[in-house]
C-alpha cells in the first residue's frame, strides 16, 4: 500500500482496527497458552484467537476487498463456516483423549470416571 492509494481514510481505519483487534486477540490467546498452568486452562485461552480473532480478520478482509474491487466479496464466509464447524469438534476430541489419559494414569486433577 502506497500513500497515494485510492482507499479512503474510513476504509483504512476500519480495516486496520479490525486487523489489530483480531491479531491482538490471537496473540493474547497464544500468551495464555504459554502462561496458564494446566492443560484444561490452556484450552480456554487458545479459543480466543480461533473464534473472535479469526472472525475479526475475516470481516476486515471482506470489507477491504469489497471496497477495493467495488463489489461484494464474501468468499471469506467459507473459512468462517469451516472454523465454526471444525474447531469445537477437534478440541472436544482432544479433551476426551486428554481426560482418558489423565484418568488412566490416576491423576488427581480430573474427576474420576462415573
Amino acid at each position: 500500500m502506497t500513500d497515494d492509494s485510492p482507499l479512503g481514510l474510513v476504509t483504512a481505519v476500519v480495516t486496520g482496527s479490525l486487523l489489530l483487534l483480531g491479531a491482538g486477540l490471537a496473540a493474547t490467546g497464544a500468551l495464555g497458552l504459554l502462561r496458564l498452568g494446566s492443560f484444561y486452562e490452556r484450552l480456554h485461552a487458545t479459543t480466543l484467537g480461533t473464534t473472535l480473532g479469526m472472525g475479526s480478520v475475516l470481516i476486515a478482509s471482506m470489507f477491504f476487498f469489497s471496497v477495493l474491487q467495488t463489489r461484494p466479496v464474501i468468499h471469506e464466509l467459507v473459512i468462517t463456516v469451516v472454523m465454526m464447524v471444525t474447531t469445537p469438534i477437534s478440541l472436544m476430541l482432544l479433551v476426551r483423549a486428554a481426560l482418558y489419559r489423565d484418568r488412566r494414569e490416576g491423576s488427581r486433577e480430573v474427576p474420576p470416571a462415573p
Binding site: L9, F65, S90, L91
Partner: protein, 93 residues
C-alpha cells in the same frame, strides 16, 4: 494518510501474530505432555491462517485466501487424527 494508517496497522498485526506463533511453537517444543503439543500445533495452524489473510490484505490479492482455507482444513484433520491417536493408540481402526 490512509495508506500509512493501513500499512502500520498491518505491520503491527503481523508482529503480534508472529509473537503468537512463537508462543505456540514454544508450547509445541516444550509442552509437558503430548496433548499440550497437539494444542500448540492447532494454535500454530490457526495463527498461520490469520497471518496469511493479513498478508493477502497487505498485497491486495485474493490469492492467499485459498492457502488460508487449506491450512484451516488441514489443521482440523491433523488435530482430529492426533487426538484419535492419543485416545486409542492408532489412527485408523
Amino acid at each position: 494518510m490512509s495508506g500509512a494508517v493501513l500499512h502500520w496497522s498491518i505491520v503491527l498485526a503481523q508482529l503480534l501474530l508472529a509473537f503468537g506463533m512463537a508462543c505456540a511453537a514454544y508450547r509445541v517444543l516444550r509442552g509437558p505432555r503430548a496433548q499440550d503439543r497437539v494444542l500448540g500445533l492447532d494454535t500454530l495452524y490457526v495463527t498461520t491462517a490469520i497471518l496469511l489473510l493479513t498478508y493477502g490484505i497487505r498485497t491486495g490479492t485474493t490469492l492467499y485466501f485459498e492457502a488460508a482455507l487449506v491450512i484451516a482444513l488441514l489443521g482440523f484433520v491433523g488435530t482430529a487424527a492426533m487426538a484419535k491417536f492419543l485416545m486409542r493408540g492408532e489412527v485408523i481402526e
